[in-house]
Symmetry: C2
């Protein structure tokens, strides 16, 4: 089953516990993480929590729990949800707190911590075998998407547009270069080299992205964190997208342009297999 | 006193009524308005509600109330808060609804309507007499700030930075041109002409901004909705900022640069006086 956590208490997921003047609710003034558990074990939990701390530091939210306390809460939540042996999805968000609405940071306000614990969404079994088609959209987001903040309206709108046009994901480009997807990072393989945009402020520093780069290095696949153009992407030998939820997912078309032979390529498959092995450890 | 409204019910302002999975809370997937009432009468209420409808249409939220119903709710709210004869601030926000977290629009979800009704914040009596200093910051917001959405983290961060540096407001520039402020629009007067950036997607289409342009026309002050540079702004004869809360507020310094004689200029004063007359009608 699914349950939630809010400011110290575990409760039903649909319980209405957030104040109207919560700053997450009124300003998107907060940060979040999504963590996947495999067989009840949260995968790369420490990495997600370190990123949460980084996001919090940048926008100057004092996290009310240490990493160790968050880890403990996550384990408790999975257990209370009966997901201690299941594939699960953990969502956590921290807002700056609840205060009479003013743009400036409120004084003496404690951050609000919300979490949800759910069984992992089942994706189609043949998703990774078949791969997906993506569309390219102009990146209209703000300059600091490396902060994993609650300001996700541009991502929502792009994902909706992609879905309605029959694509699995919208991948963005800005000033002539690929950035990332609405909820994914993007990779291209050309002549045996694995390319992905560098971890600037213009992209989300995906935990899965970092894991894939590590895996590639351990497999002795050359990697290049370099700016790539939409044209380079469309003419790559292989393309794939990554995220906590979709792991490593091959792209068979960028709009009308077929990538490779129209199925996920061999390096994509190898990286996904190695990622899956990592998840199971 | 202050009260709130949530999905059909009036309730205490600090009541926790929002679900964790409200899309306003998790994605900033919603829109808002702030309306000022003078002596209990909501000022330019119709204009605010028309803009709300425009924002909703752009991001495809079906408003659950008509403009007339919103007007009625606002009047009821002021009365229940005992503010029917007071200066008051009405905040309203509509999110896409509550649904299991996924970027794409949920199906069959009803938008959530939250409102707050409060006595107007008292601003220092000499604020308009003295004017304020502002700072200029790079505009890091997304491409569609004309949508009055809940994605306000860049505004929050800019306002906080300005405040900590001793400035009243942060005014943004993008690609070499002034856009607007963190919660205001910007005007400059040069050689008797009133300049303000045009109502593109890069600025909020302020209701006060529009009212001031109308007032200027009725006073036969020539107006120019044109792109202006930071340099033009710093060398203007007069500069002022506008919003629902601060009305028409003179700027005496842009960082170190004094504007005019260091007090709000004559055209600024004339426009503010005429605006105040309008509020009282």
């Amino acid at each position: 089953m699914s349950i939630a956590f809010y400011n110290g208490e575990f409760l039903p997921i649909d319980q209405q516990v957030v104040g109207i003047e919560d700053r997450g609710h009124q300003f998107g003034d907060g940060i979040y993480e999504v963590i996947r558990a495999y067989g009840g074990r949260p995968f790369l939990m420490r990495e997600h929590l370190v990123r949460l701390e980084n996001s919090a530091r940048v926008i100057r939210i004092d996290l009310p729990y240490t990493i160790e306390q968050f880890e403990d809460l996550i384990r408790q939540g999975l257990e209370r949800a009966g997901l201690q042996n299941s594939d699960a999805e953990i969502y956590m968000q921290i807002s700056r707190g609840t205060a009479s609405r003013l743009h400036t940071f409120p004084k003496d306000t404690r951050p609000n911590v919300a979490m949800t614990f759910k069984p992992a969404r089942a994706l189609p079994a043949d998703l990774w075998e078949k791969g997906v088609a993506i569309t390219l959209l102009v990146d209209e987001r703000w300059a600091n998407v490396y902060i994993k903040s609650l300001n996700l309206l541009p991502n929502v709108i792009a994902k909706q547009a992609a879905t309605e046009a029959g694509y699995y994901e919208a991948v963005f480009f800005k000033d002539g270069y690929i950035t990332d997807g609405s909820s994914t990072n993007v990779f291209a393989i050309k002549d045996g080299v694995l390319y992905t945009p560098p971890a600037t402020k213009r992209i989300l520093h995906g935990i899965t992205r970092a894991a894939v780069l590590d895996i590639a290095k351990s497999l002795e696949i050359p990697t290049a964190e370099e700016e790539i153009t939409p044209d380079f992407l469309a003419n790559a030998d292989e393309v794939f997208i990554t995220s906590t939820s979709i792991e490593v997912l091959g792209v068979h078309h960028i709009e009308d342009k077929q990538i490779g032979d129209g199925t996920p390529g061999p390096i994509t498959r190898r990286l996904h297999a190695a990622y899956r092995d990592m998840c199971k450890k």
